[in-house]
Symmetry: D2
Subunit: 364 residues, 4 copies
Amino acid sequence: MGRGIGELVSTIKSKMIFASDNWAGVHPDIAKRLSDEANGFAAAYGASELDKKVEQTFNELFEREVAVYFVGTGTAANSLALASVNRPGGVTFCHREAHMIEDECGAPEFFTHGARLAPVDGENGKIDPQNLKSEIARFPPDFIHAGQPMAISITQATEIGTVYQVAEINALAAIAKDKGLPLHMDGARFANALVALNLTPAEMTWKAGVDIISFGATKNGCWCAEALVFTDPKIAKDLPFIRKRAAQLFSKTRFIASQFEAYLADNLWLKLARHANIMAMRLRQGITTAKHARLGWQTDTNEVFCILDKSLAEQMKQQGAIFHPWNPPRSKQHLLEENEILIRLVTCFATQPDQVDQFIELLD
Amino acid sequence: MGRGIGELVSTIKSKMIFASDNWAGVHPDIAKRLSDEANGFAAAYGASELDKKVEQTFNELFEREVAVYFVGTGTAANSLALASVNRPGGVTFCHREAHMIEDECGAPEFFTHGARLAPVDGENGKIDPQNLKSEIARFPPDFIHAGQPMAISITQATEIGTVYQVAEINALAAIAKDKGLPLHMDGARFANALVALNLTPAEMTWKAGVDIISFGATKNGCWCAEALVFTDPKIAKDLPFIRKRAAQLFSKTRFIASQFEAYLADNLWLKLARHANIMAMRLRQGITTAKHARLGWQTDTNEVFCILDKSLAEQMKQQGAIFHPWNPPRSKQHLLEENEILIRLVTCFATQPDQVDQFIELLD
Amino acid sequence: MGRGIGELVSTIKSKMIFASDNWAGVHPDIAKRLSDEANGFAAAYGASELDKKVEQTFNELFEREVAVYFVGTGTAANSLALASVNRPGGVTFCHREAHMIEDECGAPEFFTHGARLAPVDGENGKIDPQNLKSEIARFPPDFIHAGQPMAISITQATEIGTVYQVAEINALAAIAKDKGLPLHMDGARFANALVALNLTPAEMTWKAGVDIISFGATKNGCWCAEALVFTDPKIAKDLPFIRKRAAQLFSKTRFIASQFEAYLADNLWLKLARHANIMAMRLRQGITTAKHARLGWQTDTNEVFCILDKSLAEQMKQQGAIFHPWNPPRSKQHLLEENEILIRLVTCFATQPDQVDQFIELLD
Amino acid sequence: MGRGIGELVSTIKSKMIFASDNWAGVHPDIAKRLSDEANGFAAAYGASELDKKVEQTFNELFEREVAVYFVGTGTAANSLALASVNRPGGVTFCHREAHMIEDECGAPEFFTHGARLAPVDGENGKIDPQNLKSEIARFPPDFIHAGQPMAISITQATEIGTVYQVAEINALAAIAKDKGLPLHMDGARFANALVALNLTPAEMTWKAGVDIISFGATKNGCWCAEALVFTDPKIAKDLPFIRKRAAQLFSKTRFIASQFEAYLADNLWLKLARHANIMAMRLRQGITTAKHARLGWQTDTNEVFCILDKSLAEQMKQQGAIFHPWNPPRSKQHLLEENEILIRLVTCFATQPDQVDQFIELLD
């Protein structure tokens, strides 16, 4: 979510909607699959044939046996991921501007009964390995006063539209391994990162050292489908109780499973993400050549950050463009002139080229 | 959920499914509405026009301005209801066999950081007012050692298929009011109780003294639609933060709103509940006249409790009947002979008369 | 603490103080040891020579290597005991009127983030093994809806002055072992029970199947000295972090250690408990022969429960007797006539025979 | 506590103890008062005459009616202070290297069920008002995703031995007031700051805009005496339950009260703090003129930070000096040469001039 916007958009006439990828609806294939599932009875609470079948699909997707738990929101996936590796006085290291710090209203701390998110600085929305080492070094083993490290969490794609290269994940995974810490990946935009990097799920996760994945599908064409994936099922031993106690075990889970079934079938998910990324690229190109705007920084996925005059931003809103203002990252504090504003533009599976073009035109 | 059953029902050939009302799918009208919503963009996180419109529908439904929050599961609704009235050392009084005690894996305690569910005994699944008074009396005001009462919660319909009459709710509400405690109603089967009693929502809730309602729709034809309703919006002041921190604020909330829209339109919800209740009545009548079974006790809604020989139960399962065994209520401990078993049979909007008849036939 | 009493006793002229064993001060030997410790420097946070020495004393006391953690209150000891064996959706079985349920303001639930205390009924303040089995049976393994058993806790001596015989502990320990649950003993009045039973600490605990002990000394002559003892140090692996995070790691821990040193030296603790028990016996004998009072039930330690006319109780208060009214146990509901009251009388290391005699005289 | 030191100091022969002010014992006047209190009975749980009397003393001390709660540790005081103003998704702003962030093992987060400590940077251990404003600005009112500000906490004296001037407190209090946030002061070394600034308690707290104070006495000559002071008793309404549930209500509270009585009598506390500060000044002067060491930065109270060669530090330890290494503040990262180490030296009421002189001599 963007910063400082709470207004109700009472009628959406505009086609220029770049507020967030969760403003989109549901892809027709997924909607159809949901409809088809409406008939008939099936075992509740994740015990249906379909639930089991889709769990199996995740094994194939990740090229190994994984433990998969469906939950309702990305915040739930992140929070339960941390809850599963929780420790008394536990500390999770994540980027200073990670979604779990900035946009989850304290849910990760809540679900872990107060485990801390220790912010680590780094350029381009990515944890800097040296900073990570320094921060972890403040928690010597068995020094009870400081607490104890419990996990490292990275966001892929990051909150500011960039991606970790495999080598960058490797570097953080090496630190995690050295310290005996699990490495979590917040993959709310997993698919967008995957196609940007042209990797397989296995390559972007466990082959690179990632242990737990919040595998998001809601932002990429589902209505409510998030999976918590453990590459080592042993870590997830208590998860069934953790999830139930967290009120995240849906009785009719198969309606999440069915979304995933359609989402993953025939690489639909990759096609949708690729489309969103291409639309973002079109936006970036337009901004680069626009007279009255410039890019905040280079991005790799479906988020674009644009700097423009406050008055122009206001004018564009009047003309129907929808977007959120964005807090400049602390590492880019001097990005803006006095009269300027930073805005975030997010594309998605449903973004149309003419929406982009219309927006770019207004910039001139 | 029933007791002691965890098995995977791998293929559901049977038509005799009485396991739970959450084994059903989604009513076609609701499924269609979900599909229709798939297209187009709308503001996320509850800010869309549709969200607002459906909230307004709740005002009409309850004949007053209420505060409504959509969440994903009944456990979430119950838990956040208690979280909204939480106190340090808080104690909620509920029936000893309430769903929140028996079937939510500690979620209410978790979301309230350890507030207690104090079990109160009572016949027929209903809190006995005298017992309630005695239990509350164990918590004198300002006696910090015992903790402090924070709420009373009743289940309507109860976990064992009975309903509170309005006078019974009044009696508990009077105690609640006297002690300054909010009265919560777990309405996972709100509609089934409503049609059984032939009341309006207002009559069954705030006119009878109920302050907070978990308004369930999932068991009655939706796939995932629960509403937390506060008859006094002031109590709900912090709920937006409580819900978000609880990972229960869905980004595409409008897909919950759309389910409710179809559910509440043209009294669909009442028709579905009425159908389920009638199917249960048919079951009860069949059992009453059956040779090898008898009713555990009289029920008023869509749950039927049946006592039969363990061997017969086993046999019926072989022939495709699906149901859960059930723990006899503590107040009915001597219900069973040595060789007998108590089972729960639940009907729903999708139960067909021939399913019932087929089941009854097997009993003979 | 007694029920329903919050008044400030502004001036204690009476010598007839039977309100609680924590109204007493500190035994002179312990007070002197505290004073002696005032001089000099020592490592903080439990790392001093004295801390280590007293930990060693506990090994000798229990005739095996134990893990010992000093904390400030009995509630802390109980709560951290449960926190050390906590599980998601966890349930601890204890007597329905255990101190941790009735008098700790929800602390055990708080420190376990909402693990439940499941009340088990039983005569004479003691858990009935059959009831325990029935209650545990409501939590089938892997049935996530109900939650998962995590511990059994008994109170020795019980809240109503009785004691578990070794055979009774054995019976509960057998159930605990069968279910894989740790057995905790709330020993706020450990010494009183021990001398009543004429056992060694080892015999009353691990030899009988107890795994974790809240070893209380405050009520028996210290000012603030409670020890959490794990007979298997492995269980306590995370306790240093749990205790620190619970704000129960005192910086100058050696002042707790020094109290224990004096307390345990030359069997002082056993002498003090024996004295308290003898004073209680004197009280019981007096009440038995008194005209206007009778015993509520037989007790074995330093608590005596007495039934008398409300008016007489009032009169005795006027004449300087200090005691708390007490809620009749649920299993003894018909104990009282309309005009009667149940009161609790507690003796301690500092109770004098003439205090007792003066009280008994007033009863006639 | 210092960083990276867990070793057991098995025998303290050295007189050069500068490890921490909590390595000292108890001042003779306070020890005597504790002894005197050992005799006699008194109401437990804070209801004794003495408890009430000392509470009254706090009113006089602060020149207004305050609410006072005795607790056992500074961590408890800080944690319960925050718990009393807790909010769902709550965020407390404190210095990045505050004790509550660095040395309390997550206790503040634990006692608030996961409220966050948001680190704010600032020179000299003090929150920078501009940074504070920027950080608070990231939490727009009613923007549920980020959470909601709940408090600001400052440490006086700071963790690195400096003090906030009244004007500096005023500046932060103005921000707090503007945002409707309570201002908390962690006064573990309240007395040391007070005498350094030559202020009254009222001037350093509520007259400067402070609402809640953790008033520490343990580090300044008591064995276990911390008071949580609310300048507006209304805020503390729920504190009795919060404290009890937190296992911080001692049964024999009067032994904390009695320490405070002696501590506050005849300005003993100020004398002790003044002595500690003077000893620190002597240390600082010695270091300034020493050949092989230099001050890390200027300090105002009883903490001194010294930079010296690692080999010299090692050598001094061999000769009996006891001190902790210290992590350089993030704002002073380039303080050290490769071969150097930063150490913290803490003086206290019991530090003797010759201890200091002996230490300084070794530096040359």
